[in-house]
Symmetry: C2
Subunit: 416 residues, 2 copies
DNA sequence: GCGGTTTGTTCGTGATGACGACAAACATCG
DNA sequence: CGATGTTTGTCGTCATCACGAACAAACCGC
C-alpha cells in the first residue's frame, strides 16, 4: 500500500517533526480509541493489541483515569489462571457529545456518551414553515436544554456534532445549500456556536455523511477500511470511507453522489443539471413510477413497499426500475472507488430486501469483476439514530485524537 | 477536518503503539521527504519547516548522510549576514529506483534517482504479437540490464516500480486483467521479482495511477491534497488523490473511472457493460465520430487535432461531443469527490487546449456550484515520462517511509 | 579588525517507553 | 487447605530522542 504524508508546501503541519509528547498523545489516543470503539477492555488485552508493554499501558490508562475519561473496575476472575487484569472502560455519563439532527419536519437532539451510548434524547416536530435558520437555532437550544437537564452534574460536554439535510462545507462549518430548508450559504456552525456561548466546539456535517460515519464506526461497516454508504430519502447522499477515514474532498463536499449524471438525457434535477442519479432513484421518482404523487413522503413509500410485498404488478415493476438505476449508479461508484462494502441506508435500506436480487444482477453486469470481487452490499444496521450517532462521533474526534488536549482544567489541577 | 486512525479490529498495525524509535524514523522520513520533493534545502530552512531544533536537524541530517542517502555541501554565502547554513541534498546517482512502463507496443525502463531525476532510460519497441508475459519479462530484464550498465558502481537500487496498461490488484501485485495485452490474472509482480532474483522489491500499478501519482508529486497537482487525474488513451484510467495520498480501494482497483456508466443505453463496452464513460470519450470513440477507423492510433488522433486547429467542421463537432461527454463524467466525479484540481493527461491533455471552453461550460452546468467552487481543470504538466516517474515514486515510498529500514548493510557496518 | 547576526555543535535535561525483577492475585492439584 | 504455577501490576533502571542553553564558527558591514 502506498502511504505517505502529503508532499510539501501544504503548510507547516504536514512536515512537522515529532517529539516525545507526540508519542504520548498518540498512545493515549490509541488506548482511548480502543475503549471507545471496542468497549470495556482489560489491560492485558490492551497490551496484546497495541504491542506496548504492561508498564506503558499502566501509565497510559492511569493518566486517562486521572483525566476523568476512563474508569478501571477490579477484574472479575474469568476462570483462567493467573492474576486477573483490571478492566478499563470509558466514563460515558461524564463525557458526552451533544448530537443534533436537523431534518425538515423535525429536530432531534441526543446526549451521546463516550463509547457511543445514547444517554438521553429529545425530538421536536415542527411544521414545514418553521425551518428558518433562527427558528431552527431556537429549537435546537430548547431541545439541548431539555437534554442537558438530564445529565449528571459532573458531566463534561466534549462537543456538538450536527447533521443537516443539506450540502455542508466542512472547511468553515457552513451550510452551502439546503433546498428543503430554503437555506443558502448559512454560517450555521458559527451561529449555533455563538448562540451556545462557544462553550464547546460545534461541528457540522451533511446528514448522509454523518450516517455513513456511524455506519462505519458502529454499524454494518465496522472495521471496513474502504466503504461506501448511500443514504436515500427525498435526496440521495453518500458517505465515502477510504483507508478507514471519511473522504471529505477539498472543501468537505465529497459524497454528493446524488448528483452524479447517470442519464444525460433524463429528467431535470433541482440542482440545475439533467439526469442526476437522484432524479432516477430518489423517493419522488419511486413514487411517480407507481402513479403516486412524488411528495407523498414516508407514508406513500410504505404503501409501495406493502404493495410490492403483496406482489402488486405496478409496484414490482417500479421497484425493478428502481433497482436498475440504483445498480447503474452503484456500479460506477464501485468501479471508481473499489469499496469492500456498500451500505444502503434510509429509503434504500428499507428497499434492499425487496430488490437485493435485481440489484446484485445489475452490479454483476456493470461493475468490473475485479472491483466487485470482494464486495458486499448490505442494508444499514443502525436504525433511526444513525445521523445522531454519526454526529456524536464527529464531536468525539477531538478527544479521540488528543485525549488530554481538551481535558477539563479542573481535573488537571487536582489530578496530579 | 475529520482525521482518525481506522477504527479497530483491522489488524494490529492500526492500533499499534508508538515508541521512541518511531519518532526518530518519522523525523528522518520528514527530512528525507523534504529533500526528495523540494530539492536541496539548507539546514536552517529545515529547522523552520519542521519545527525541530537545530540540534535535532543536525543529528537527523548526519544520520542520513552516514547512511548514504544524503550529502551536505558547504554553504554558499548568499549575501545575508550570519553563518551560512550547509545545504543538504539527496544523493540521486547513488540511490535509484528502476521504473518500468509496460505498454502494448513498447516497454520503457528508466533509472530514476532519489529526488526524481531521470538518470538513464531505454525503450524497446515491440510488435503487437510480442506481448506475452514471458516475452515482456524478457524484454524488461534486457532493458533493465542496459540501464543498469550506465549506473555508477556504488549505486544502490531501492526498488522497482512498474506501470502496466491494465487493471492491477495492488494487494498482491498482480495484473487482474489487461485486455490490450491479453493478460488475465497474472502474478506479474511476483514473476518479475523472481526473474530479477528478488534483489529489490517490485511494485505494480496501473499506468494511469502511476501517471497520477507523478502528477501529484511532481507535476501540475503538486501540493494538492484532493486531486483527480484522468488519463486517456485507448482506454480511460484515473488516479484519485485524497488527503494527499492515492485512493487505492479495497484491493487496489480504485480509479477505474473509464467504466463508470454515463450512458446506460449507449454502446457496448469491452468490459461487458453498456455505456461506460470510455465508450464515449476513448480514443476509438473520438476517431469514429470523425469518420475514421477507431483503431487509427496516435497518428489518427493527431490528424483530428490538426483538422480541429484548422477549424474543419467535422472535427470541431467531434470535439464538441467529446467535450460534452468528458464534462458529463467529470461532473459526476467532481460531485462525488470534490477535488480542488482535475489533471487531464494523455489524449485529454492534448485535447484540452481545444476543448477547455466547452468542457468548463459542461461542468458549470452539471456539477454542483459548491463542489466546483475551488476547482481548476488543467492539462498534465509532465510529458511522456509521467508513468515512469510515477512508478519510480512508488518504489521510493519504501525509503521515504523508513529511511534507515532498508539501508545498505555495508553502510551500517562502517558508518558508525 | 571589530561588533552584530546567524548558525552549527556540545552537553545536560526531561519525557517516554523498554526491560527486568518482584509482588500480587488467581487456578489447580495434591 | 496449602503449595505450585501462571498471569499480571508495579517499581526501578536504562536507552532513545528532542529540547534548550552556552559556546564556537562563519559570514556581513563598517
Amino acid at each position: 500500500m502506498i502511504s505517505s504524508r502529503s508532499a510539501l508546501a501544504s503548510g507547516p503541519t504536514d512536515s512537522a517533526g515529532l517529539r516525545s509528547e507526540t508519542v504520548r498523545s498518540a498512545n493515549l489516543a490509541t488506548v482511548l480509541r480502543v475503549l471507545h470503539f471496542d468497549g470495556p477492555t482489560s489491560r492485558s488485552e490492551m497490551v496484546a493489541r497495541t504491542g506496548l508493554t504492561r508498564s506503558a499501558i499502566g501509565a497510559l490508562v492511569g493518566e486517562l483515569v486521572r483525566s476523568g475519561l476512563v474508569v478501571e473496575r477490579r477484574a472479575i476472575s474469568d476462570g483462567s489462571p493467573g492474576r486477573p487484569s483490571p478492566v478499563a472502560s470509558v466514563m460515558s455519563e461524564q463525557n458526552v457529545a451533544l448530537a443534533v439532527e436537523v431534518l425538515v419536519d423535525s429536530i432531534g437532539v441526543a446526549a451521546v456518551g463516550l463509547g457511543g451510548v445514547v444517554l438521553h434524547s429529545f425530538r421536536i416536530d415542527r411544521p414545514r414553515d418553521r425551518v428558518s435558520v433562527e427558528r431552527t437555532i431556537d429549537d435546537i437550544i430548547d431541545a439541548v436544554g431539555r437534554v442537558r437537564e438530564q445529565l449528571v452534574p459532573s458531566c463534561r460536554v466534549i462537543g456538538m456534532g450536527v447533521g443537516v439535510v443539506g450540502i455542508v462545507r466542512r472547511s468553515d462549518n457552513s451550510v452551502s445549500i439546503a433546498p428543503n430548508l430554503g437555506w443558502r450559504d448559512v454560517p450555521f456552525g458559527a451561529k449555533l456556536a455563538a448562540s451556545l456561548g462557544h462553550e464547546f466546539p460545534v461541528l457540522l456535517a451533511n446528514d448522509a455523511d454523518a450516517a455513513a460515519l456511524a455506519e462505519v464506526r458502529r454499524g454494518a461497516a465496522m472495521g471496513i477500511d474502504d466503504a461506501l454508504c448511500i443514504w436515500g430519502e427525498v435526496g440521495v447522499g453518500g458517505g465515502l470511507i477510504s483507508r478507514g477515514e471519511p473522504v471529505t474532498g477539498a472543501s468537505g463536499f465529497a459524497g454528493e453522489v446524488g448528483h452524479m449524471p447517470v442519464n444525460p438525457d433524463g429528467r431535470a434535477c433541482q440542482c440545475g443539471s439533467i439526469g442526476c442519479w437522484e432524479t432516477e432513484i430518489g423517493e419522488g421518482s419511486l413514487l411517480r413510477r407507481t402513479g403516486r404523487p412524488p411528495d407523498g413522503g414516508r407514508a406513500a413509500v410504505d404503501a409501495v413497499l406493502r404493495d410490492a410485498s403483496a406482489a402488486v404488478p405496478g409496484a414490482l415493476e417500479a421497484l425493478a426500475v428502481e433497482a436498475r438505476w440504483l445498480g447503474i449508479g452503484l456500479s460506477g461508484l464501485i468501479n471508481v472507488l473499489n469499496p469492500s462494502m456498500v451500505v444502503l441506508g434510509g429509503l434504500f435500506g428499507r428497499l434492499h430486501p425487496l430488490i437485493a436480487r435485481q440489484l446484485d444482477d445489475e452490479i454483476a453486469h456493470r461493475a468490473l469483476p475485479s472491483a466487485r470481487a470482494q464486495l458486499r452490499v448490505v442494508p444499514s444496521s443502525i436504525g433511526a439514530d444513525a445521523v445522531l450517532l454519526g454526529a456524536a462521533e464527529l464531536a468525539f474526534e477531538t478527544v479521540l485524537n488528543d485525549p488530554l488536549g481538551t481535558r477539563d482544567l479542573r481535573l488537571v489541577a487536582d489530578g496530579r
